[in-house]
Amino acid sequence: MPATMLDRIWASHVVADLGDGWSLLHCDRVLLHDLSGGRALREVGEAGHGLACPDLVFATPDHAVSSAPGRTAETFPQGGRLLAGLRARAAETGIRLFDLGQDGNGIVHVMAPELGIVLPGTVLVCGDSHTCTNGGVGALAFGVGASELRHVLATQTLPQQKPRSMRIRFEGTAPAGVTPKDMILAAIGRFGAGAGTGHAVEYAGSAVRALSVEGRLTLCNLSIEMGAKMGMVAPDDTTFEWLAGRDFAPRGADWDAALRAWRALPSDAEAAFDRDLVIGMRDIAPQITWGTSPEHVLPVTGRVPDPADAPDAAQRAAWQAALAYMGLAPGAPIAGTKVDWVFIGSCTNSRIEDLRAAAAVLRGRKVAPHVTAWVVPGSERVKHAAEAEGLHVAFRAAGFEWREPGCALCVAANGEAVPPGARCVSTSNRNFVGRQGTGARTHLASPAMAAAAAITGAIADVRQVAA
């Protein structure tokens, strides 16, 4: 019977059938971060359990660390206390910690693929909803809460129900200015923020095959914004070339054996999905969000929607509330909306290709005087690679602040925030009320669009700015 990649990875990790559709699923990798990692390790110990497999657990501080140049753990003292706890527990339990400033440190979903910690066909969990990012290399990766995290640390397994399968095929060639971020935002806009609930999404089609691994990670990152806790892309030669030689990737005969297993992972051509959707690339333009849910998204050439046109009363109320929070007028063109902040970073868009794309728009130009513009590389490695290419010089020359790796303004858990009422074009993943700071107004977009907004001082169509 034809199988999907989800079927294959799932079946190969079932330790026991628990009945009623439940499986005890083996987790090959556990990632911890500073916000919840130290507590999880402590609570497992307090419950009298040891770690089942400390060699499969990796930790990195990212959420509550300052991104200020020259930062230390103590720059944000509350975060410093969390990190102290994580360090102590990591030392006790013998798990691998990639500490602040060390090679390998970074945003958990940037460093895990970068170091080859996540591999095709593995099951990976982390106490963070954007764990779905890691599906970009062909893994089954999902976010868990504190209780499930304790369970997996103590047993290396999780009782799980297999999600339904969903495929989104992106067919055709990307038009000018259209990046993976625009592809996934367009999908969320079309299908809705709850479309993937209960599903694992596989992204496929010619436009996905043409993407780099970085682009696939961006695509998978926003799966949770469509409601799906897992997103994935079948591994192929692009993946294998990208993985070869990475720190935790297999070598020699193990690599050859792994490669044979990985090549057998992709869904069969005849495999049936519970939901099968397709988007033509020619229909996608550079995207920008206008509201407070990722489904509130428009082509940059569009106009702010009018609640009078909402399909029902509930949507009307939601749109009205979103417009009031965002300080936008119905019917106005979204382009030209004045912005105060620009943030390039987050597990969505802080990899080397993202920084290159933004720097290409910036070169020879200046950030508008009223705009505060930050770039926060996703990891120590991204930072050093970018500096080796001189990207930091290009960003600084344009008027951006070049900062230290971490989640920073995506989640505003580190003492940094967009001020109340300020409008920020952000390459992150959530435009929720208060996400970037109390009263902060977030517009999600690609790195190139964010750079275009920074130099224009307003939401702008990157195709016109870059021309």
Partner: protein, 210 residues
């Protein structure tokens, strides 16, 4: 884990789709506040005015819904982040059950881990319970009965709901998942032994990367 059998009280209406976990509990509170202290911060951006006083326009501040154990919510409630603090905050506010047309997947699972029951009912049924509660100004109660798997509306209608058998049992008994799984330790170890042979590259994490 706290057991759940039956909960009864006024059902507090909070309609609107896509109420996310950042709105339920801002991340800053998870950096500095312990699990037990989150209740006063639940929905804080909606619940309080800039001066820290209660926002009279926020529905959960209305006298008839203060301390209500049942929340009536819109589609995709609890979407977004995996923070279990969202459940702790709702419980700290007094909620033990949430009734909504759909939930964010991770939030849904987190509820069961903490003795909180998420009930999926069609949107029109959620609206009906809200309307019946409003008509009685909160004086009539809704009952969520996990033993019989019914919601009893303020006017006495019994509405059955589906709940996964394993999760129902765990809530009724207050079972500890970890202890149950550790009983299967031998099977886990046997699976791992076989997997080490089949996929050695997954297990060679120590010698690599040093």
């Amino acid at each position: 884990m706290e057991r759940f059998t039956t909960v009864s009280g006024p059902a507090a209406p909070m309609p609107g789709a896509n109420i996310d976990t950042d709105v339920i509990i801002p991340i800053q509170r998870l950096v500095g506040t312990g699990r037990g202290g989150l209740g006063p911060h639940a929905f804080e951006r909606l619940r309080y005015l800039a001066d820290g006083s209660d926002n009279p326009d926020f529905v959960l501040n209305r006298p008839q819904y203060r301390g209500s154990p049942i929340l009536l919510a819109g589609p995709n409630f609890g979407c977004g982040s995996s923070r279990e603090g969202a459940v702790w905050a709702l419980m700290g506010m007094g909620f033990r059950a949430v009734i909504a047309p759909s939930f964010g997947d991770i939030f849904f699972g987190n509820c069961f881990q903490n003795g909180m029951l998420p009930v999926v009912l069609p949107e029109e049924t959620v609206r009906r319970i809200a309307a019946e509660t409003e008509a009685a100004q909160g004086a009539r109660h809704t009952r969520v009965d996990l033993v019989r798997q019914v919601v009893v509306t303020p006017e006495g209608a019994e509405i059955p709901f589906a709940v996964d058998a394993r999760r129902r049992e765990a809530l009724l008994d207050g079972l500890d998942d970890v202890a149950l799984t550790l009983r299967m330790r031998d099977r886990i170890l046997a699976w791992q032994e076989a997997d080490r042979a089949a996929r050695p590259w997954v297990w060679q994490t120590v010698e690599r990367g040093r």
